[in-house]
Symmetry: D3
Subunit: 164 residues, 6 copies
């Protein structure tokens, strides 16, 4: 009986508590994923800058190795943060209202991997865009208004912020 | 032009290389997620055993703290492994053929979190089942036959194995 | 000669690039530390809720073990994020202008540890306050206006946000 | 008295429970180490492919940095997984029956480090071989038959599988 | 030819460079493992202190959860550090001279796990002892004298230090 | 009242227990940070050796990637260990007696990042020096004599050791 109720609960409940740490604690915020994706773009920009330098120089090599590792880490972080919100906060009822959300998250995962595999500004910017799209849906579900504004650090791409 | 080709590629390609580490290296195997999910069931069984013991005893407390931490870790691992295969190996063309896959992965994420939040054998077994279902689709895509057989360690639940 | 220039540079430079990942990439944002500290408060609230329940129950134990672990993790995260901004972004010239900053960061470290060691709402809230104080200085250095507003999730404590 | 019994127990017991996570949960499976070692071979193959490309190109550099990092990670994983089974599952009584096991594990550790230090297919393949040897002993102890069959992904080297 | 030389090298070389980070960088030092093992004893002492307190109290629970987690972490660290020195620094020629070393390391792994599984001062102290024994052999190989002296922090057990 | 006492306690107490793992367990030892900083110097030396080799060779690339990653890891470790002792062991009363300590720790953080960002022996050696300075203060607070002696592994720089 309890398990039946649990199932009904997990199928229907729209307002069940939710959290960025799956406690659930209810503290979900896409800003972490957005900053991580922006960092990926920044790493690509810095890598493309290095490309012009002389390749065999040890300082250049040290820098490139670090830039690639940081690109890797932040692309992974962006994917992980979105997976958490999607897996823990988004309930079947949300999926009904936003049927595109599964495909959107799937494309964020693929873009995150592509951003790791290449040094492509286009891919990295698309990752930011898709995560912005996700943020917009998220805040709409939470009943919060959003605003698009440039980030206060390079690259000053537009992020979807919750209106404060 | 190159980026256009890239896009066509990522939309159409069915057989693009893929990997459990997003290199991509092509070495995807759901067995890691399956063993992790089975471990969650095992932790639940051991926790329910402990429950009968006297709660204030320090040995029991040490054991329970460790069982919960391990349940946590393996539920996370199961989710992470499935996310990688889904995000890196599953392409849009696969989604067309297996339209249920997004919902299946979403439910694995939710079950993984529920398995962390509770000490429920039912939830943990359902996690194993859903991951088995995922494994079956995965091996079918890879053109490999599967067989259902009990795991060689407790809990000896059936896992979907690739037929060797 | 180069090393002399380097030293002068590190002593005088006020506007040297800076980063949340020490690349340096220039993407510093105290919001991560603020959300982490808020999460610590949330964990404390949930732990105090649990306290009223019956202690030996296995579901309660599972929950408490997870709440403590998450409190731990987020207190550490808050400390780590502040250490990075302090160590990488804050230059000697900033310290001259904000002589209290070393003591402030030191107290954040101590509060972070106290928040781990106890289940004290007072300590956790003080951690949020001190990190807000740090955020205010940070955004002032960056020439950005700030606004104090409640977080959009429980516990809805005031955070110092950059004005968008 | 209890401690004396404990010592006798740890000296004589052959069938004491054992686990891949030292709970112990009893879920030991060398397949994780085998897949990790196979991944090391794959990384070496991909690195040797890259070598032919033009070295200064930024896409090649990004790829090589990632391949080296993944080689590192999986060599470490292979070592770690074997250490766990050896340290937690293998008891003194097993060592008596398989006196070569200490030396075998020691050589796996050394090979894992060599595989990190070099880009050598020979070393990586030897790592797979030695771990296969370990897997064979492991399954024999567990009373399970094994079969040697090619892995279902490149590089399709033979792995020692438990017969299902 | 080169691979043949490599093999001869790995079989015979006694003085090959070695490292705590498998670079190899040559910086091996058992002190990290010794401090970690000492910390395990400390955690056990603090846990046994807690046992006398009232079990349901939330402050006690928070403390015990943290003590168990730290015991776990430092037991793992002790095992990991010893595995690195054993796997990377100890060569076949050393094993000939110290034939007991494989068994010693194996017992350290088993004791590390036992120290996790229980709250036993006896097991934890035995872990310190065995690691001291390992440190003695290590410094003898390095041609350094050692001295046994109490650690400068509780529990002030004797550690085998290199004579400075 | 209790919170007032807590505050007085944290302001005045000089001898409050303290720990390298913030339990607090009281086991603080700067040797870990010192070994980590020494390892950074070693990585720089090995990197500068590699620079002379031919850059496009895959073995050289593998080695350089690993050296940079290890330099990164150990510089981070050095920073982290010092942050812990500073944040958890150093109390306001110590700061009064050693008013330079905040600035010293701040410079260790900056040097740690510079050591990551460059391949500079001068920076790496300065990191060792500053951490030695910190170790000297630490042991003085603990009432322990120190001695300066060369490390028993390359680079054999002087470390500040506790006199045994």
């Amino acid at each position: 009986m309890k398990s039946l109720l649990n199932k009904i609960d997990s199928k229907l409940s729209f307002e069940r508590a939710s959290a960025h740490c799956d406690v659930p604690c209810g503290i979900y915020d896409p800003i972490s994923a957005q900053i991580a994706a922006l960092t990926v773009v920044r790493m690509v920009d810095l890598l493309l800058d290095q490309e012009k330098g002389e390749g065999a120089n040890i300082e250049v090599r040290n820098k490139m190795a670090r830039l690639v590792a940081n690109k890797e880490e932040h692309a992974e972080k962006a994917k992980h943060e979105i997976r958490i919100i999607w897996g823990d906060f988004i309930k079947p009822a949300h999926v009904e209202k936003y049927p595109q959300i599964h495909g959107l998250v799937h494309s964020i995962m693929a873009l995150g991997s592509e951003a790791k595999q290449h040094v492509s500004r286009e891919v990295a910017v698309e990752l930011v865009d898709k995560i912005n799209e996700f943020a917009e849906i998220f805040w709409e579900i939470k009943g919060q208004e959003t605003v698009k504004a440039p980030a206060p650090y390079a690259p000053n791409l537009d992020l979807v912020y919750r209106k404060i």
